[in-house]
Amino acid sequence: MGQFLEYVKMALDNIRSNKGRSFLTMLGIIIGITSVVTIVSIGNGLKKDVVDASNEQNNTVTVQANTDVVSDPNSITGDDIAFLRTSLDESVQSVSAYTQTSGTIDTRKGSFDAYIWLATPDYENAQYTEPLVKGKYFTDNDVANANMVCVIDELTALYLFGNTDVIGMSVELKVDSSIQNVNIIGIRKTSQEMMEAEKQYQAMGMDKSISLEMPFTVSNAFGNPIEAFPAVSITAYDKEQAASVAKNAVQILNSRHQNLGDSPFIQQKPMDFSDMFGSIMDGVTAFVALVAGISLVVGGIGVMNIMLVSVTERTREIGIRKALGAKTGSIVAQFLCESAIISGMGGIIGIILGAALTALITALGVGGIKAQLSFPAILVATIFSCSVGIVFGIYPARKAAKLSPIEALRRM
């Protein structure tokens, strides 16, 4: 330990007596560490923004049959949903379920393949839906009477009729062999994004998207009656309530279906977009940091280069030291300390600059980024910069230590 401090002191003396050169050598490491720390911090901030934003939307939960217990997953009936709606009334915005089928619609403009959502009335306000712009949604009454009514979106209206002023009109819908006249009672907004996407699909020659939302009981008329749904979506007023609402719903369904076995219903694991996006973000950050990390390797080669120059310059000193009793290990330790200290100091300066840059980016609000300093990244940067010094210092240090004292003393 005492000896080690000796080498540290020797290294510091030598770095001090070559200030300019030592700083220029550090510069490579400084730039590398600064960029890695800054990039990881920006990535961190972006990820946090996205995860926060997506967490805000997670106030919808889905309860579904536990397929390990129940043989037929379609076991949530319309009655169950109506019951849930009344039981949970205070705490939820909507309790909805749907199933899908398809058919064709014939109009003067031609024949279209149509996508049919067979839904419960609360589907009006389910997650990821756009608001109605005209008319109204179907009601419990429509469901009870299996009324042939539908709600279509603006895009469908445009495709079928050329305009959206179509409330009260009807379309001829064919499902399997059954043909029904369906009355249009409401128009749902089509989002701007959807409009844009559809334009591109059309350009690619894909079919026009025609979709209808209808009371699920109309399935009787199409000869394929729907009694039950595989899952029910419940949207609470806020995220905090969602979990307890889901628990309640599972309990209610379980007690209504005790004949199906032990706990036939479970909460579906929410599709966690925040996790997915978080890991994508992590990947991108890691990649960019890796690219920046290459500059660290370049910096390390700079350290190696200057240490080699230093060994050549100090050949005589090495000879003197060896003549006076320095062993191979002492010379290696002396030069390794020097390169490790140079790159370690570069690392520390780099971290400070990186932290400053992170604070600056956040303060200036460039692109609305709230960069967040990552402590694991700082730790890795520190360890990495020191190891760069040691790894790239080994070759010059060994070269120095292997010099024969006679050779070294002979050279001027």
Binding site: A323, L324, G325, I406
Partner: protein
Amino acid sequence: MESLIKIENIHKIYNPGENEVRALDGIDLSIQKGEFVAIIGHSGSGKSTLMNMLGCLDVPTSGKYYLKGHDVSQLTDNQLSEIRNEEIGFIFQGFNLVANLDAVGNVELPLIYRGLGKQKRRRIAVEALKKVGLGTRLKHKPNELSGGQQQRVAVARAIAAQPPIVLADEPTGNLDTKSTKEIMEILKGLHRGGRTVIIITHDDDIAAQVNRIVRIVDGRVENDYLNEEREDA
């Protein structure tokens, strides 16, 4: 009495094969404790190679070197480093001081490799510098000292660790008359103090000041005699 240094039939051959150079060609030599010896010869005679052998800076191609009765002719680099540190104080023609260390720092060097603590090292180094008359130049770097002063720092470095042998390779080769006289006085003082002092030189005037002269010609000992007409005692 066992010799301090005993060399038996030492050869050092460079480039073995066609263009081989026999720098040392069968040297026998023994030196007792407390002797004051000059090894003299022209450049190319092999005296520097002999000095490298004696100083454990190099190992012979063949032959034996017993230092205090131990065979050191085939030791490893690290073992040789240890012996140099313990047994030998070097004084070189070109002073060989480390430029960015001050006088004390230079004298401390062999003590660092001996593993002494900072306080102790410093005390010994300052003591040694006072002995060579540089008590007022402790913090001077080599380039702030005259040639004679630099060589005195080197002498202090050679004696600080109290090695039994002081090996001086052309110690006055780069010095003016006055400094030469100073350094020789210090070396004589070391001899009087019981140290074994070996000077390698090509200068007969220097050789004339010692007790025993070993003349090397073409890698062999040409003659080895006691210096009866020594100039001063």
